[in-house]
């Protein structure tokens, strides 16, 4: 469905260079720190920027050549932009009706009411959480087969984050053939939602794994500095040395569970993986 082959985009002081293959019917997460290149990757997929080099195909077409009909297949929520702030939800409904024949006004209004979004207030008077929910609901409003959500939960409290994630889950339950690309710097958002995870840092993909593999096979191994020297390092992906212990991220935790009974082996969460890959030694 989406193919990025050695896609490069250069800005002053930043270079994006990514290769990705995103299949249909999957939820793909892009995780990375602020400024890692998540938004640039999403903008390239949407054709909002012209790549410096490399290839990019979405539904078999270059995104910069998308027609209006092509764009109707995609629902988008960008992190820092949306409808004009002087609009109310009533205005948003009228504008969406003008853009999409498939816009389901009744369903959209119902979901806005469920999320307690006020219909007569201008968007500039909405809270951060309200705006985030509206952005996601707008993206879902025309039943697109691909949702692209850039940092939909950034800046939200835990309850608002859960609400947004539940909206995405409901959207996928309505039609399992739908696909979602979601970027975030909050790992827990992606852990329970994604089938695939791309980890991006400094403009490069540093890890791509199936979520089940990531959470099932990857592990954290804690050993003393002496035991670390004796450890088989073939599955070690990242290491962090402290005064009295060494923490390792491993891609086959079962191997260490079976062969090193003295080592403490724990399940790895995406946050641990990020810390050990980005902050540790390789």
């Amino acid at each position: 469905m989406i193919r990025l082959n050695n896609l490069q985009k250069e800005y002053k002081g930043f270079k994006l260079n990514v290769t990705m293959e995103i299949p249909e019917g999957r939820v793909t997460g892009i995780i990375g720190r602020n400024g890692a290149g998540k938004t640039t990757t999403i903008k390239a997929i949407l054709g909002l920027i012209e790549p410096t080099s490399g290839e990019i195909e979405v539904f078999g077409k270059k995104p910069r050549e998308f027609t209006g009909e092509d764009k109707k297949q995609i629902g988008v929520a960008l992190s820092s932009s949306g409808f004009c702030m002087i609009f109310t939800i009533k205005d948003v409904i009228d504008v969406l009706k003008g853009f999409y024949e498939d816009f389901d006004e009744e369903d959209f209004s119902k979901k806005c009411r469920e999320q307690e979004l006020p219909f007569d207030k201008q968007l500039k008077d909405f809270s951060t959480g309200m705006r985030a929910k509206l952005r996601v609901l707008v993206a879902m409003s025309h039943k697109a087969k691909l949702l692209i959500l850039d940092e939909p939960t950034a800046g939200l409290d835990v309850i608002a984050r859960n609400d947004v994630l539940n909206l995405i889950r409901s959207y996928l339950e309505e039609d399992p053939s739908r696909s979602v690309i979601i970027s975030s710097h909050i790992s827990s958002d992606l852990e329970g939602l994604c089938d695939d995870i791309y980890m991006i840092n400094d403009g490069k993909i540093i890890l791509h794994e199936d979520n089940d593999t990531l959470l099932g096979k990857y592990g954290i191994v804690k050993v003393s500095p002496e035991d670390y020297e004796k450890l088989d390092k073939k599955y070690i992906v990242g290491t962090k040395k402290e005064s009295f212990s060494v923490t390792c991220l491993v891609s086959e935790k079962q191997f260490y569970l079976e062969n090193y009974p003295k080592a403490v082996v724990e399940n790895a969460h995406i946050d641990d993986i990020i810390v050990l890959i980005l902050g540790g030694e390789k």
């Binding site: 909002l48 209006g68 932009s81 004009c84 702030m85 002087i86 009228d94 504008v95 969406l96 853009f99």
Partner: protein, 221 residues
């Protein structure tokens, strides 16, 4: 396209306070001074309001979001010209209606054909302004646009005053009577003048729109 036109209409209608104040001033002016002024005042302010929708699109990276809607970047430029022409026509019709209301209420004698001709002549002027301003608004951020427009007004004023002085000097030196030359313009068929003006405007608008479409196609959001 339809979505873009609705969006721009909503932006204008959401500026209720300004619209009400603007129409109130227009009504007061049309009944207190030369009512022909109103036919230039209302559409002019209307065009400024219409073109301000571009700066609303600029705010909060609105362009990026708009370009994810089912439109091509060039459609945005085309919609802006269509909206300007439609909106300007609405403001022009309102101003003409106010002008005639003022004539009837104040019992001012008027020549219908001459008045309508003079009113129609205002339209190309606004279209010319739109032809210059739309590409500038699309290319530059609202902050830069303010500076550029200030410079353009300066250049126009200097060119106008300088041209007037130059023509006067040339006429004096060569013994040409400018007043009689200007009077000769009166003998030209006004319909021909309007058609010539309209043709000039269409050419300017076409060039301006082609350039704006290219700007949007090349742009990154």
């Amino acid at each position: 396209m339809k979505g873009l036109l609705i969006k721009d209409t909503k932006i204008i209608l959401n500026q209720k306070r300004f619209l009400i104040l603007f129409l109130f001033v227009a009504v007061v002016l049309s009944f207190s001074m030369d009512s022909s002024f109103i036919v230039s005042y209302i559409p002019m302010i209307g065009v400024i309001m219409i073109l301000s929708t571009i700066s609303y699109d600029y705010h909060d990276e609105g362009f990026s979001f708009l370009m994810t809607m089912p439109i091509k970047p060039g459609d945005y430029a085309v919609a802006k010209y269509v909206f300007t022409i439609l909106g300007m026509s609405v403001f022009w019709v309102i101003s003409v209606m106010l002008q005639f209301a003022s004539f009837f209420i104040q019992k001012t004698p008027f020549d219908l054909t001459e008045t309508i001709m003079a009113d129609v002549c205002m339209l190309p002027l606004f279209l010319l302004i739109a032809s210059i301003v739309i590409p500038i608004d699309i290319k530059f951020s609202p902050e830069k646009v303010r500076v550029i427009m200030f410079l353009i007004y300066g250049v126009i004023m200097v060119a106008f005053l300088g041209g007037k002085a130059l023509l006067g000097t040339l006429a004096d030196n060569n013994g040409i009577d400018m007043a009689s030359k200007l009077e000769a313009l009166d003998s030209v068929n006004p319909v021909f003048l309007i058609l010539a003006l309209a043709a000039f405007c269409i050419i300017c608008l076409s060039i301006s729109m082609t350039y704006s479409i290219r700007l949007m196609q090349k742009r990154e959001f």
